[in-house]
């Protein structure tokens, strides 16, 4: 989940913070930079796969750093941030929207971290003005929220709540959050504005949004500690009945294995890397690191690299066998583990989450009903792996798989009548097909109450009978007049002849052998 840091670079950010105990004069901007520095450091150490970009705004906006995992570049840009004029949030949000859409499209969930002092401009271009003029805007001048992609908005205020509540700022920010569908949170500083309080505020953001998701991957007694990246988001199901958010378990238990061909490109809600982690590795403190640290880490990593890990074994076998592991994420919630190859011959263990529910994929059926093959009387995959119990067939075939009759277009009806006539001319060889088509037409005509058609086709058959050449098989004439008679009887609606489930059967004749296969 990429992050956009939207940094207020307006003049009001340079307002000094009054500090009694500190001799050095601090600006709000300094506090903001300190907070973001802490965030970047945390990400570089513990969440380094996150793509982050930095956008600064005042009355204009500028993309300072495009999406990157290079946190030094981000830090550098942040340190060199200059001061500009007034705050204009609306255009900046448009900017964010553009930046994200260009890079990630519209389906990628994004996190927007807005850092501001809470003075959101005056007059035209101010947030207050933007919110007042929300309604009645033309299509091309719509407010950028809600974003066209799923986004969480975190507003980091370099101000305390009381300060914001004195004006209507807090109210405006809350409105902003509502416009985003309520997805996000407003963070304010507690107590005095100082380095400590800004760090505690960013600390809360980190805990909630950027802490790694540790889990244990289990396959029976084999297990591995893993980190799931990005953090799996809670999922809301049918909001009407069950509005509770659902979180994935930290104990990921494998249920069994399925061939890739059988699971067959299933739809997934999100994808996550499953990275094995060493458990006994000391939790490193968040803070300025000494130069020795990375070396220690590498040696620790090398150590961990030599200890056999279940994830690596699983990944290797999944890759070789072309299979996926079905994994349980929670009650009635499943996902799959598989080997995902990068373009550069690198590959990784990946986990995709299915939609929560007892039956996420119709072609597998209910997951709780999937059992070990040893439960089946006979190996469903065959002794030589030549067959598969998947996909499951639906009880009722879909219309396109069952030769339905639709006469909405005249051509549909004409084709069906022609088919009967074509076969009628090839009697008695085509007796079977002739009656099959005839009965199909009869059924549809009866259902649609289209008795006129039955009479019409009966007449056509009678005419065909008169047109039979002298060389024709005598059976042909009998079958044609028999069929015509039956159709006529059906067209009367007489329940004896017009029953839907009844079929017209070929007539028994003495001219057997001629293919009138019964």
């Amino acid at each position: 989940m990429p992050t956009v840091v939207l940094m207020d670079a307006s003049l009001s950010m340079t307002r000094p913070v009054s500090l009694e105990q500190c001799s050095e004069e601090l600006q709000r901007k300094n506090l903001a930079v300190a907070g973001l520095t802490m965030l970047f450091e945390h990400m570089a150490n513990n969440y380094r796969l996150e793509f982050t970009s930095l956008v600064a705004f005042s009355s204009l906006w500028e993309l300072l750093v495009p999406f990157t995992r290079d946190y030094n570049t981000l830090q550098e840009a942040l340190n060199n941030l200059e001061d500009y004029d007034k705050t204009c949030l609306e255009s900046a949000l448009h900017g964010v929207s553009n930046v994200v859409q260009q890079e990630w499209g519209h389906a990628c969930p994004t996190q927007v971290v807005l850092v501001t002092d809470g003075s959101l401009g005056i007059g035209k271009g101010s947030l207050r003005h933007s919110l007042q003029t929300l309604k009645g805007r033309p299509e091309d001048k719509k407010f950028p929220l809600p974003f066209p992609f799923p986004a969480k908005l975190f507003i980091m205020c370099i101000a305390n709540a009381e300060e914001l509540q004195m004006t209507d700022t807090m109210h405006n920010l809350e409105q902003l959050l509502q416009l985003n569908g309520g997805d996000g949170q407003i963070f304010t500083m507690e107590g005095q504005l100082c380095l400590k309080s800004v760090q505690s505020m960013f600390g809360r953001l980190i805990d909630e949004v950027y802490s790694p998701f540790p889990a244990v991957l289990r396959c029976g007694n084999l297990a591995s500690d893993v980190q799931v990246f990005p953090r799996p988001e809670p999922v809301f199901l049918d909001e009407e009945i069950d509005p509770m958010p659902r979180h994935i378990l930290t104990d990921l238990e494998i249920v069994g294995f399925i061939e890739i061909g059988d699971i067959s490109s299933p739809p997934v809600m999100s994808r996550h890397l499953v990275l094995p982690i060493a458990v006994n590795k000391e939790v490193d403190d968040v803070g300025p690191g000494t130069t020795e640290e990375p070396e220690e880490e590498t040696s620790a990593n090398q150590q961990a690299g030599k200890i056999p890990n279940f994830c690596v074994l699983l990944h290797g076998s999944l890759k070789v066998e072309g299979m996926v592991a079905l994994v349980q994420l929670g009650p009635e919630w499943y996902g799959m583990l598989y080997s995902q190859a990068d373009s550069k011959k690198k590959s990784n263990l990946m986990m995709s989450l299915f939609e929560p529910g007892p039956e996420p994929l119709p072609w597998l059926g209910k997951v709780s009903q999937l059992g070990p093959i040893s439960d089946a009387a006979e190996n469903p995959y065959g002794e030589d792996d030549s067959k598969s119990p998947f996909p499951l067939q639906p009880k009722i075939k879909r219309s396109y798989a069952q030769n339905v009759t639709v006469w909405i277009k005249a051509s549909g009806l004409q084709t069906d009548v022609q088919k009967i006539l074509r076969n009628a001319r090839k009697l008695p060889e085509k007796t079977q097909t002739f009656y099959k088509e005839l009965n199909r037409l009869r059924k549809a005509a009866l259902a649609f109450g289209f008795w006129e058609l039955l009479k019409g086709v009966a007449e056509l058959l009678e005419r065909e009978c008169t047109l039979l050449p002298d060389t024709a098989h005598p059976d042909a004439a009998f079958q044609l007049s028999h069929a015509a008679k039956q159709l006529k009887l059906a067209s009367t609606g007489d329940s004896q002849y017009a029953a839907f489930d009844q079929n017209i059967n070929p007539m028994h004749t003495d001219f057997s052998g001629g293919g009138a296969g019964m």
Binding site: C311, V312, L370, G371, R398
Partner: protein, 703 residues
């Protein structure tokens, strides 16, 4: 769409009054004469459908599309109305099929024009529809029972689609009022009943059908609120093609469908089999399949075209070759069932049959810039065709660290093939729901997990950690012992396996003991067997709790594994260590156990490198820089050679030893050597015997 939205229940009310028998005046030529046969023949008069036939076939088309896209949870109740109402099916899921409805419709037949129009009305059907909407569906029932005390949160909404021939706008208003009143009445009744639910929201869609060439007596009206419970809309449509189009639009609106036209489908011509032309096929599906287009706003850019004077929009996607193969796992963000709009046209059936045969097609989004973006895939799963939405934007997970760089990434001897075999054995299969499986307690998925647990009780991850899993001879036992229960035959196979191992040991067959991790040449033969037997015991012990037969396998191993005499001797020597180990062996199923013994085995293996046969060197790699073993005790019973004690035996040493031994046989041994102690013989013993003191003094004197 919410589960219990208005679309959960749809009641079709089709007018079956005498006036519906009237002709639609749309004529169909069904006698198409070919040129060669047409001479002098009078073609059959064209047939024309009645209003009833038009209404029925268009409503069936609505149902067909609905059932294709939503085979479950979207229910239809079909009601026919004349002098009374006829309910053709129920809300039950098994009643939901076009075949079921067609059969019931055939039994009803066309309206009887002779019937008295005075006692016939569509009102009977509308009242029945409202009553029916109050009836609880199996899904509502299930949701209510699972929610228990908050059961009232389960909503009851529905839609009534009424196909009729109304007389005037006043007549329409009368119908609306009647529905409104019936809802109020029924809701009162439902309040006092467990089997009924009151209606919270009802959408009435009145479709007035009139014959071609006539003017309509009823005006179109968009949706309006009759009351807080009821909304109503009126569509006035000509019978025939117009009605079909109208209902097609309605089914899309009612069930959030959208249309995609697959273009450039190559198809063999019927007449000229070797040429192919390109065809288009229109499909309906849930509109979320177009979500990306809606959001990006390039719905129109993506080749969307309007047809039927802007009433309907479709997104065009291009057939894409080469096709994809089924073993590729695409990143797919959604899969939606489809229904072809023109189901039995030749292009449609060619496409659907192609897909039903198990092939998949990638679809490309036409872009002005000419860049190729594959955005969708058509694929069938078990006789159902799905439109898959593929992710076509940049991934946030790109360039991750390779698994080989992480934990365990540098280990190279994982049992990849064995785990592959393990996965094949633990593949899943659908188990039909039956009272039997419930009786056995665990649902199948839990049984699958239990099987994984059993199979992994002892499962070394790397080749160098195991001996038994590298031995073909152990396979029969290893495969059987993990089973939940053993048959008498299984037990016999296990026992045979054990006897076979005993036989191998007797014949002194080499074992595939890995030397990775241990230094030097690895353990000697009898030691290898000890390691193997111990490992086998460990494996079997983890399963003894399973059944009495599992225990008997263990008993068999314990009884059969021999403790060779040398081992007994060594045991005496290394008493302490052995004692410890025995204790470890006795403790059952401790996780640390296998590690314990493996390590101690390895240590001992390194100690006992003494006598080696040449055959072993084929199996066990030697390491030239192995250090001197620890605590090596001199062996009294052997001819002790000084070189041997110092470290690894070099080829030269071995050769020299051999030569020495050979030579020694050729001559009489020196008397001194024979009487030597520790290869040292005291010289001039006789002097000591005769005059011990002198020697001593002499010695001193010389210094």
């Amino acid at each position: 769409m919410k589960m219990f939205s208005v679309s959960h229940k749809t009641a079709f009310v089709v007018d079956h009054c005498p006036y519906m028998a009237e002709s639609s005046r749309q004529q169909v030529e069904c006698d198409v004469l070919t040129k060669s046969r047409g001479q002098g023949m009078i073609p059959l008069a064209p047939v024309s459908k009645s209003l009833w036939t038009c209404a029925v076939e268009c409503s069936m088309e609505y149902c067909r599309i609905l059932y294709d896209v939503y085979p479950l949870k979207k229910l239809i109740n079909y009601i026919v109305s004349d002098s009374e109402f006829h309910i053709l099916n129920s809300w039950r899921q098994e009643d939901q099929s076009t075949h079921e409805l067609m059969s019931a419709l055939a039994a009803v037949g066309p309206p009887n024009p002779q019937e008295d129009p005075e006692c016939c009305s569509v009102l009977h059907g509308l009242v029945a529809a409202v009553e029916s909407l109050c009836k609880i569906t199996e899904y509502q029932h299930e949701a209510r029972t699972t929610l228990m005390d908050t059961a009232d949160r389960v909503a009851n909404r529905g839609r009534i689609i009424c196909l009729t021939n109304a007389k005037s706008d006043t007549h329409v208003r009368m119908l609306e009022d009647c529905v409104q009143e019936t809802i109020l009445e029924q809701n009162k009744m439902a309040a006092g009943s467990d089997r009924l639910m009151s209606i919270q929201q009802c959408e009435l869609v009145l479709v007035h059908i009139f014959p071609q060439g006539e003017d309509t007596l009823v005006s179109d009206r968009p949706k309006k609120e009759v009351s807080s419970l009821l909304t109503s809309e009126v569509h006035s449509v000509r019978a025939g093609r117009h009605l079909a189009t109208k209902l097609n639009i309605l089914v899309q609106q009612h069930f959030d469908l959208a249309s995609t036209t697959i273009t450039n489908i190559p198809m063999k011509e019927e007449q000229h089999a070797n040429t192919s032309a390109n065809y288009d096929v229109e499909l309906l599906h849930h509109r979320d399949a177009h979500l990306e287009f809606f959001k990006s706003g390039d719905l129109h850019m993506a080749g969307s075209t309007s047809r039927d004077s802007g009433l309907k929009e479709t997104v065009t996607l291009k057939w894409c070759t080469p096709r994809t193969n089924s073993v590729e796992l695409h990143y797919c963000t959604g899969a939606y069932r489809i229904s072809p709009t023109d189901v039995n046209s030749r292009p449609s059936s060619c496409l659907t049959n192609f897909l039903l045969n198990g092939r998949s097609v990638l679809l490309e989004q036409p872009r002005k810039s000419g860049s190729k973006v594959i955005s969708h895939m058509l694929s069938s799963h078990g006789g159902e065709i799905f439109l898959h939405v593929l992710n076509s934007t940049r991934s946030t997970l790109e360039d991750p660290p390779s698994i080989s760089e992480g934990c365990g990434g540098r280990v190279t001897d994982y049992r990849i093939t064995d785990f592959g075999e393990f996965m094949r054995e633990n593949r899943l299969t659908p188990v039909p729901e039956s009272p039997d499986t419930e009786a056995s307690g665990k649902p199948p998925a839990e049984r699958a997990k239990a099987q994984l647990e059993r199979y992994t009780r002892y499962w070394p991850m790397i080749i160098s950690q195991t001996t038994i899993f590298n031995m073909q001879a152990v396979v029969p036992l290893a495969n059987l012992i993990v089973k939940e229960s053993l048959s008498e035959e299984d037990l016999l196979t296990c026992q045979k396996t054990v006897y076979n191992l005993v036989d191998m040991e007797r014949k002194n067959d080499p074992l595939p003991i890995s030397t990775v991790g241990s230094r030097g040449k690895g353990p000697k033969r009898d030691e290898q067997y000890r390691i193997m037997w111990n490992e086998l015991e460990t494996l079997v012990k983890t399963h003894v709790a399973g059944s009495e037969r599992h225990q008997r396998v263990l008993d068999c191993i314990i009884a059969c594994r021999s403790k060779p005499p040398e081992e007994e001797e060594r045991k005496k020597r290394g008493r302490k260590r052995e004692d410890k180990e025995d204790k470890a062996e006795k403790s059952i199923n401790k996780d640390s156990e296998d590690k314990n013994w493996q390590e101690s085995e390895r240590l001992k293996g390194a100690l006992e490198r003494g006598k080696e046969e040449q055959g072993e060197s084929e199996v066990i790699k030697d390491s030239p820089d192995s250090p001197e073993p620890l605590n090596k005790k001199p062996r009294l019973e052997e001819i002790q050679l000084p070189e041997k004690a110092k470290g690894p035996v070099s080829l030269l040493t071995m050769w020299t030893n051999r030569i020495t031994v050979a030579n020694s046989r050729k001559h009489q041994e020196f008397a001194g050597r024979i009487s030597s102690v520790n290869n040292k013989a005291e010289l001039y013993q006789h002097l000591k015997d005769e005059n011990g003191m002198d020697v001593h003094e002499n010695g001193k004197a010389t210094r």
